[in-house]
């Protein structure tokens, strides 16, 4: 004795609309046969096909039928509901039909695109249509819930993407929290010397944006900080941020550097991250000259005072502004924002994982990022390319695709390395006049001005050898190879195995997702691709959205890309975030659960199961009650209710059972 959700006197009059989607569906599914099949299903009043159901004429056809044939239920068999459900719901609404009297059958993504045999595809499509038809018959009219949104935005990660997004939003008048875990904002771009293909100075174009961030009234910038906890939902996120101590009173420090000079350590002690380990800094240090905030910090693990508790503390004496504060503790901030932009960037592939290239074994094997610092005037060698053995290279080999396009490590193309390698070749040549070889699998220079740059570097006399390098070895078989690093490679253009002796090897290592990307992914409840990049909602149509509404992606954290690409994406993410918070409210899918107190026995089974604590027990009436505002519509309580008192809108027992009957109806 199951109650039907179809209200009395509401005899379903169903219209079924099957889409060809050009050839996308029609090439595998016999759309006409599906139409005929649907026509004979119970309650179906009309069944039509059309080339593109989502086009205006297609939608008008549906609306006309709703009006003329008094249809009160609509089924569209086309693509995925994740793509066009909103479209067709609007169509229904425009014709005066409650948009939730609509059901979609996904016969493209889940039928025509994945099925080889046309007969099988047609049968499967028909089954899905049957399911939609029997399901929609017991749909009810529902209203979307509107919730006001918080106008502030958080940007996580302050590389070029995060900085750009933050500035756009701030300039649009939004309050922005910019969270960066390094001591300075700027990200990898700050480490680069020049940018391809224009060869303009990276710092020169980045630092103005960095100081703009620092001075912007709408931007709260937290460095040395990480997101700890995220709760809430689109429009109303509550985010806890952990701010690690800098042991310096930021507002007092003017980065004069006297504290650094007087530190009891005369020499650097800690490998310098900014210089990719090519130099060392003292326990108290300035990350790099243009660091923002312009403020020193203390590394608690290396500082004698903080690690051992005893030190002459010369720095304290030296600082007349009394900015040093060994007592600083971790601060936990909690803020509310309407939207979040994640722009956490990437890390470089560890070249030690390709031992055949001898990084870490042979002194003169470098990564490309290290060379960026070598050629940089502010770098450890003041811009001179001096190798670890003190020599300047006369011959240099740049190996492409280290860690990328390699099934042992990352299958993907890291996309920027070819151009970066070309730039490196140019710079090294410029600095040393050395003969430079590039060892590549394929050259990939597709964007504006890139191919031209490739051509320019060719003209400059840089050598290109097509072939994946087998190994780098110091095994010399000819006198010419003595004391050199020998690059063994098959030159696939001339079909010869070559041994090319060089002084310096530069590895174009891949961009890869941060080792701890998965933690962030879970904290924000978004998805990761297999390679660890954050997953966009749709590869083409929602490239900066995620599956969690209100959380957007910018820059390399979504996949390898260069600076122009990152900046463009940051702009897109900012626009999406702006659209959300400016609108003032979010509409929430009416799929929340409710409990029928006529049936509920107050057994409380559902209470502990709700992940959002939306269910409370009313001790007076001995029933459990769902707070609709807190319910996010997972349906766990419904599945756990032993007496069928809990039900979920859009996913009632009856609706799902009808769908089960439907999908099995085709035989």
């Amino acid at each position: 004795m199951i109650m039907s959700n179809t209200a009395a006197g509401d005899q379903p009059r169903i219209g079924v609309f099957v889409c060809y989607c050009g050839r996308n569906i029609a090439s595998k599914v016999d759309v006409e046969k599906v139409r005929q099949f649907a026509e004979k299903l119970p309650n179906v009043v009309v069944s039509r096909t059309y080339k593109f159901m989502c086009s205006d004429p297609g939608q008008e056809m549906i609306q006309q039928d709703i009006k003329e044939l008094k249809l009160n239920r609509i089924v569209v068999a086309s693509c995925s509901p994740l793509l066009h459900e909103p479209t067709f719901r609007r169509t229904c609404a425009a014709a005066g039909l409650n948009p939730f009297y609509f059901q979609m059958a996904n016969i493209r993504e889940q039928v025509s695109w994945v099925t080889a045999d046309t007969v099988a595809a047609t049968r499967k499509a028909s089954a899905l249509v049957a399911a939609a038809v029997s399901r929609v018959a017991c749909h009810t009219s529902l209203e979307k819930k509107r919730v006001p949104v918080h106008a502030d935005v958080m940007v996580v990660g302050a590389g070029i993407s995060g900085i750009h997004a933050a500035l756009l939003l701030a300039n649009a008048g939004k309050k922005v929290y910019l969270v960066e875990r390094e001591p300075s904002i700027g990200g990898h771009m700050a480490q680069l010397d020049k940018t391809f293909p224009t060869l303009d100075c990276s710092a020169c174009i980045l630092t103005p944006k960095m100081s703009e961030v620092k001075n912007h009234p709408n931007i709260t910038c937290w460095t040395l900080s990480e997101v700890e906890e995220v709760s809430g939902f689109a429009g109303n996120f509550k985010i806890k941020v952990r701010r690690n101590p800098r042991y310096i009173k930021q507002e007092l420090c003017v980065a004069c550097g006297q504290c650094v000079d007087v530190c009891v350590f005369k020499e650097g002690k800690v490998l310098d991250d900014f210089n990719v380990g090519l130099s060392k800094h003292k326990p108290i240090y300035m990350p790099f000259p243009q660091a923002t905030p312009a403020c020193v910090l203390i590394d608690p693990t290396a500082c004698l005072k903080l690690s051992r508790g005893k030190c002459a503390q010369r720095c304290v004496e030296a600082c007349d502004r009394k900015a040093i504060d060994f007592e600083q503790q971790v601060i936990h901030e909690e803020v509310e924002v309407g939207a979040v932009i994640i722009a956490t960037g990437y890390q470089m592939f560890d070249a030690r994982k390709t031992p055949e290239y001898g990084y870490g074994k042979y002194l003169n094997v470098y990564t490309m990022m290290e060379v960026e610092r070598l050629v940089n005037a502010a770098g450890p060698t003041q811009g001179e390319v001096i190798m670890r053995d003190g020599k300047t290279p006369k011959t240099v080999g740049i190996i492409h695709c280290v860690g990328s396009r390699d099934k042992r490590h990352h299958p993907y193309c890291s996309s920027v390395c070819c151009m970066a390698a070309l730039k490196t070749a140019h710079l090294v040549r410029e600095h040393t006049g050395a003969l430079v070889f590039n060892f590549y699998i394929d050259m990939r220079t597709p964007l504006k001005g890139y191919e031209e740059f490739y051509d320019r570097v060719l003209q400059e006399g840089v050598q290109f050898v097509r072939g994946r390098v087998a190994e780098v070895t110091d095994w010399a078989v000819t006198p010419a190879e003595d004391g050199k690093l020998v690059i063994r490679v098959e030159d696939t253009l001339i079909g010869v195995a070559r041994r090319i002796p060089v002084d310096m090897v530069i590895l174009a290592t891949a961009m890869e997702a941060h080792h701890d990307a998965a933690e962030l992914q879970r904290r924000f409840n978004i998805s990761c691709s297999k390679e660890g990049w954050f997953l966009e909602r749709h590869p083409k149509l929602a490239p900066v959205s995620t599956f969690s509404d209100g959380i957007f992606l910018a820059g390399v954290c979504q996949g390898p890309k260069d600076i122009p690409g990152s900046v463009a994406q940051a702009g897109a993410a900012a626009a999406e975030a702006l659209m959300l918070v400016d609108k003032g409210f979010v509409e929430i899918e009416p799929n929340s659960a409710w409990i029928d107190d006529e049936v509920c026995s107050g057994c409380k089974t559902c209470v502990p199961l709700c992940p959002f604590h939306a269910i409370t027990y009313n001790a007076q009436d001995h029933v459990s009650v769902i707070n609709e505002a807190l319910c996010k519509g997972c349906g766990t309580c419904v599945a756990s209710c032993p007496s069928g008192a809990a039900q979920q809108k859009l996913f009632t027992d009856e609706q799902i059972h009808q769908e089960i009957k439907g999908v099995l109806n085709y035989v």
């Binding site: 199951i2 107050g602 409380k604 502990p608 001790a619 001995h622 209710c641 032993p642 007496s643 008192a645």
Partner: protein, 322 residues
């Protein structure tokens, strides 16, 4: 004027249901005055022929208890259906198959094998089995045949009302009888018991924590059972949440967990499955092995969650691979 006629019959069951009629005690007397019993093997000497002699629909109301397994039970059910205006499935066995319904977890042959050959107390070297018929001096003797599966009453004849319970609670029987005599009956097919789960009338409901999770299912003999505290909260597997009320939580009053005899509420398709969904969800663990060990003390889910309802469950019986 003639009194309404009533009949009682007893199929595959223990007989407790008919005993329960006597539990009406003095309330039985007005009933006896008000109706004529035309068939009541437990209490009166009527024979099948007496029923056959009646006109179709002559019996006003007939209470059949017990599940249907044998040809005789089927025959009687059909006969009484024909002769009765109102047919009531009386008790868990008629309602859902009940304890006899557990036989659907085995195939017929293995049951006969056990009954007539395997049990320790059986001495049957000749492997003798009852025969459907045998000719002896003086004529042919027949025995009813057994069907492969046990069925609930409404799986063989149409049933007008259900009066659940093992045995049905007196209060429910009384209410039913009054409804029948007064003639104001609910829609056909109604289960004549409250449509809320047992927790509603359980005296221990308030002692149930709002956020109850289960780390280990316990069995009654393993712990000293607190007389006041919710049994689920003590780790005992109580089916109260998935079972109709109407019994005033008699078993719980006896400090024993509910085993589900009054069947599911009208919103649930499958009592055992609903109970598994509910209690399974409450296991407090995210690790597969911990979940498994929490379930160790549930060696027999079918017998535990479907004690009275195997034939009316969605599986109906153990799957017999073709």
């Amino acid at each position: 004027m003639s009194k309404p006629k009533a009949g009682f019959y007893w199929c595959a069951s223990c007989g407790g249901c008919e005993e329960s009629v006597v539990d009406l005690a003095e309330d039985l007397l007005p009933v006896v005055d008000a109706i004529d019993f035309v068939f009541f093997p437990l209490a009166m000497d009527f024979k099948r022929q007496d029923v056959e002699a009646l006109a179709d629909g002559e019996i006003t109301v007939c209470f059949i208890n017990g599940a249907i397994r044998s040809s005789e039970q089927l025959g009687m059910a059909e006969l009484l259906r024909r002769k009765s205006k109102i047919l009531i499935a009386y008790g868990s066995c008629a309602h859902q198959g009940g304890i006899p319904g557990l036989a659907n977890l085995y195939d017929l042959e293995s049951i006969l094998e056990t009954a007539f050959q395997q049990t320790p107390s059986t001495d049957n070297p000749g492997k003798t089995r009852p025969l459907p018929q045998i000719t002896v001096a003086g004529g042919k003797l027949t025995l009813p045949t057994l069907d492969e599966s046990v069925k609930s009453l409404d799986q063989v004849v149409e049933v007008d009302y259900y009066l659940p319970g093992c045995p049905p609670p007196v209060a429910l029987l009384k209410a039913a009888v009054q409804a029948i005599l007064s003639g104001n009956l609910p829609p056909r097919g109604t289960v004549l018991a409250p449509d809320k789960a047992l927790c509603k009338e359980c005296p221990r409901l308030d002692s149930k924590p709002d956020e109850l999770l289960i780390t280990q299912f316990k069995r009654p003999h393993e712990i000293e059972i607190d007389q006041q505290k919710c049994l689920l909260a003590q780790g005992l597997l109580c089916l109260g949440p998935a079972t109709r009320s109407g019994c005033q939580a008699a078993c719980i009053a006896g400090n024993m967990p509910c085993t589900g005899c009054l069947g599911p509420t009208s919103r649930t398709r499958d009592q055992g499955a609903a109970a598994m969904g509910a209690l399974g969800s409450l296991i407090e663990s995210t690790e597969e092995d911990q979940i498994a060990s929490a379930l160790e003390n549930l060696p027999d889910p079918a017998g535990t969650f479907f004690r009275y309802s195997v034939p009316t469950s969605m599986m109906f019986r153990k799957h017999q691979n073709a």
